[in-house]
Amino acid sequence: MLDTAFFYAFALLVLGGALLTITQRNAVHSAIWLIVSLIGVAGLFLLQKAEFLFAVQIILYVGGIMVLFLFVIMLVNLDEAARERQFRGRWWVALGCLALVAAETAYFVIKGRDAFRFAPRPETPASPLGNTEQLADVLFSTYLLPFELASVLLLVAIVGSVVMAKKRI
């Protein structure tokens, strides 16, 4: 019961934060709301007993990445952007599409709820290891390859940002 309450609270943080992120005129406000949203996600992770992800979410996203974001925002001149109209006249089209997708998703989920049957889970209590250790095990055995590939992905992203930002190529 309490879990459910927390879930909805965090979900509200996530969605509300996200909504405010895109509707705020001031970029700094947007960034702050994004932090709120990300904290909500971290809370959801915690509810799932994924302590490691919770920590990572807080440290990396809320801590590292957001600080970087704010730096960029502060360095860029935002007065121009703030004066511009934020939404074009066709925002209601987007809203309509969004409502449609939401309705569709709701329909599907309600109709197909019975099908949320998970494959029988491996019995976790037998393992004395915590969530973090388990994650480490999986990451370096079964998911070794995606883990390594993620480093290639990061490398590409770094190369890309350098190429885009370098003064002269």
């Binding site: 197909g112 055995s141 290639v152």
Partner: protein, 489 residues
């Protein structure tokens, strides 16, 4: 502790092409730092070619030992090998046609070649992936590298617009895909394609409705990536604005890879709900063909026209998907191979003509090419004939095979409408032929530089490939038919 911390050698071998590509990319970055600023960077391009060729050899060699690797993260089968070869070949042709263009624009840097390698590596991961996470990571590697390549010329406003649009919409599409993946995981409890398929086929598997939701969301993501209608809006602007060799690359390589995972996911996992998504794909296919072809009719910019035509061609491949049969899958594979060759070839010609700053990319700028550069014009003629679907070219045979598959699956209306569409398409391709052969040379063709060696290689290789696929399709067709039986269906 898990025992298989260290993968078996054969597993590493099955991943060899991507390893070579990633290492090659890294090596180029290091070499880039070591070479002086003033030195020409063509040598780095040669390194990337060497890596691509090595990867090609490896990809073919790996076919000798098919099977899963890295805890079934990836699966080397005929399908994977086929697309691996296609995307690597596209990479090779792209590098060949980039040398001159980049030095003309003063952007002949090592990073470009490294990004090509990384992007191809990402596509290699995509096509071999047997795991939704791998698909996602591969897609991101390929996409991010391509976004940056599109924005390589930072002083060009159009290129900036192109890169930004591509990036924003591409990320948006990936988000949809991820959403779909999340639902699929929720419904089946696994992200491994083989395991998902087993779960889905079980009597107590997830309800078709949930699968349908996942399929719908993933369809949006894939639809963006393959530029099928109604998610095609980004393609013309992006293709037009990006540097031409990059346009050639992204209209062929990432698209083929996206189609590969599209096919793999839809004909295996979502096969049980096939009659639910078939009508949607039907509409997508027809809309892509029609919108692409009719919008292309009025274009005056070659790159934009080819962009619309590539939307139409995505429609043809969707027809093959719509057939929901092994023949259809094989037809899509064959068509994508032919399409990659002819499209890269056509863009390579544009890269040759366009001049510094892409001044000459209008259809009218091709005027007189037939008399000034008959060999280039002949190659372009072959590509255009293939795009139209004139027999003895790969494009014709691919189209023929697709519509054969469609008719076998009783898609009579789609076949008829698709074929009529290809007759409409003939008109705008003909316009290029008209200008090329029947007009007097203009400013663009008067002062053409001699055909650089790299471009020549790219042009004539792809022209020969297009003809080969059209005249002697047997070998490749046989291979495609054998590999189309995904998961031993």
């Amino acid at each position: 502790m898990p025992a298989n911390l260290f993968p078996a050698p054969v597993e590493i071998f099955r991943f060899l092409p991507e390893i070579i590509l990633a290492l090659g990319g890294t090596l180029i970055m290091v070499l880039e730092a070591l070479t002086g600023d003033r030195q020409p960077k063509n040598a780095l391009g040669h390194v990337s070619l060497a890596a691509l060729f090595a990867a090609l050899v490896a990809a073919v060699a790996v076919h000798g030992s098919p099977g899963p690797a890295f805890s079934s993260m990836l699966l080397v089968d005929g399908f994977a090998t086929f697309f691996r070869v296609v995307v690597i070949a596209v990479g090779i042709l792209t590098v060949f046609s980039s040398y001159r263009y980049l030095s003309r624009e003063g952007a002949n840097t090592g990073e470009y070649y490294a990004l090509v390698l990384f992007s191809v590596a990402g596509q290699g991961v995509m096509v071999t992936a047997n795991e939704l996470i791998m698909i996602f990571i591969g897609l991101e590697i390929s996409s991010i590298a391509t976004y940056v390549m599109a924005g390589l010329l930072r002083d060009d406003a159009r290129a900036n617009e192109s890169a930004l649009k591509y990036f924003l919409l591409g990320s948006f599409a990936t988000a949809f895909l991820l959403y779909g993946i999340a639902f699929l995981y929720g419904a089946t409890g696994t992200t491994n394609l083989t395991a998902i398929r087993e779960t889905v086929l079980r009597a107590d598997g997830p309800s078709p409705l949930l699968l349908g939701l996942a399929a719908a969301l993933m369809l949006v993501g894939f639809g963006f990536k393959i530029s099928s209608a109604p998610f095609q809006m980004w393609a013309p602007d992006v293709y037009q604005g990006a540097p031409t060799p990059v346009t050639a690359f992204m209209s062929a390589g990432p698209k083929a890879a996206a189609f590969a995972i599209f096919l793999r996911v839809f004909v295996t996992i979502f096969e049980p709900i096939g009659d639910r998504w078939e009508p949607i794909i039907w509409v997508f296919a027809l809309a892509s063909m029609t919108i692409g072809n009719f919008a292309a009719l009025t274009q005056s910019n070659v790159k934009r026209m080819l962009a619309y035509s590539s939307i139409a061609h995505a429609g043809y491949v969707l027809v093959a998907l719509c057939a929901r049969s092994d023949i259809g899958t094989a037809a899509a594979m064959f068509y994508l191979a032919a399409y990659a060759l002819m499209n890269v070839g056509a863009f390579a010609v544009v890269a040759y003509i366009c001049g510094k700053g892409e001044k000459y990319v209008g259809i009218d700028d091709l005027a007189g090419l037939g008399s000034r550069r008959p060999a280039v014009a002949a190659a372009l003629t072959i590509f255009l004939c293939s795009l139209i679907g004139v027999p003895l070219t790969g494009g014709f045979f691919g189209k023929f095979y697709i519509f054969k598959a469609a008719l076998e699956s009783k898609l009579i209306w789609l076949t008829v409408l698709g074929l009529l569409n290809s007759a409409v398409a003939a008109y705008y391709y003909l316009r290029m032929l008209v200008v090329m052969y029947m007009r007097e040379p203009g400013e663009a063709t008067e002062n053409l530089e001699p055909l650089p060696a790299g471009l020549r290689t790219a042009l004539f290789t792809s022209a020969a490939g297009v003809l080969l696929l059209g005249i002697f399709p047997s070998r490749i067709l046989e291979f495609a038919v054998q590999s189309a039986k995904l998961f031993g269906r």
